[in-house]
């Protein structure tokens, strides 16, 4: 975890897509330890918002700040602190979970767990050497989540992380997310089913 307590904020973000305004003048401020759940119907711009927040897409107006710096300028410092899981998990089907995690590790500057420990945390050890294409959707999703635990970046941006998970894995993962926030991390995620909230750290942002 980075020694400085992180802060992540959006300032008057506006995004148009296909002649439609997805959101206008969207602002929020997330201090260390907060969770933001973005909800809304299909096509309301949840994924687009997350891609803007992670720097993959530039907003039509407004900016995203990491600390006090716009992420476009703080590029290295920001990406070093960010873990992003998109709609696609970013795993290679032909590679095994352990090979996938080892590759993610080589792309990162810091990490908290070894690939083996991360797989263990999500009860994936029996599948460590099976190519991901022979694992189920939910298991693949868990491998992607194992990557989060392995890297331990302060900021998590997750697009539908709970899709395809069974009840046990879902509870495990929610627990991991709240633990991450308790340790001073920040989580931004989209979901279809609102997550159960054991603490007040969770904020909800509704897109229409």
């Amino acid at each position: 975890m980075s020694p400085i307590s992180p802060s992540f904020s959006a300032q008057s973000l506006t995004c148009h897509r296909g002649g439609r305004t997805l959101f206008r003048q969207l602002s929020f401020d997330l201090a260390a330890g907060s969770l933001l759940e973005v909800v809304g119907p299909n096509g309301s711009g949840k994924t687009t918002l997350l891609r803007i927040l992670s720097g993959l897409r530039t907003p039509d107006e407004g900016r995203v700040l990491w600390g006090n710096q716009p992420i476009a300028e703080a590029e290295d410092d920001f990406s070093e602190n960010l873990s992003f899981i998109g709609v696609q998990s970013g795993l290679k089907r032909e590679l095994t979970p352990i090979e996938n995690l080892a590759f993610s590790l080589s792309l990162a500057r810091t990490s908290r767990l070894t690939p083996e420990q991360a797989l263990q945390a999500l009860r994936l050890c029996p599948f460590a050497d099976i190519p991901c294409q022979r694992l189920s959707t939910g298991q693949n999703r868990r491998v992607a989540l194992a990557r989060l635990l392995m890297l331990g970046s302060p900021l998590w941006i997750l697009d539908e992380p709970l899709t395809g998970l069974d009840t046990d894995s879902r509870i495990d993962f929610e627990r991991a997310m709240f633990a991450h926030a308790e340790q001073g991390g920040i989580v931004v995620l989209t979901t279809h089913h609102p997550i159960t909230d054991p603490q007040s750290a969770l904020r909800r942002l509704e897109l229409v």
């Binding site: 993959l56 897409r57 070093e80 992003f84 998990s89 089907r93 590759f103 080589s106 792309l107 810091t110």
Partner: protein, 224 residues
Amino acid sequence: MGMLAAFTGVIRRDLRLSLRHRGDLAMALLFFVIVVCLFPLGTRPEAGLLARYAPAILWVAALLSTLLTLERLFRSDFEDGSLEQMLLSPYPTPWLMLAKLLAHWLSTGLLLVLAAPILALILGLPAKVIPILLLSLLLGTPILSLIGAIGMALTVGLPRGGMLLALLVLPLYAPVLIFGANSVSAAVDGLPVQGPMLLLAAMLVLALTLAPFAIAAALRVSVE
């Protein structure tokens, strides 16, 4: 976990993926062989005719089969989200892309270079110019990968970018073809080959230094 570890990490991953798709490697190579072998069938069996055109035939075939392999470069990474992960890595994207291209060349261009001498002999190219042919391909095929990757990076977001890719990339391959094939032809005629060879080398240096930046920029546009 440093710059170098990221570089070798990308190479190791891509080579491993190539090995798990050995069929694809064989196909590009087979395509190269077949295109070259079609020429003797389509020309008159006149002495020396094929040998005269052999440099051009080999080079055009190498160029076309490189074009076929470009699709593999970014398409699957784009579809499964691992391209996003690379773009979001704290290491510079051009640096990671250079690693990707090195792995791509090792698993495609290098194979073409290795197959070329046999095909050259089939076409009747004098054995003494084969070292020149090899050198020209060694310098030229990486340029083909680098330029092709720019086109692929631009079209990876399009649903059917294949044709557009060919139209985009083939004209840019012209200078490489001209100097590559000419250096071999010059060697056949006993003329000095230094000139075209140095120009090829210069193009390679230029492509190595500029293409990774162009690829990174194009990929950023494509993932938006």
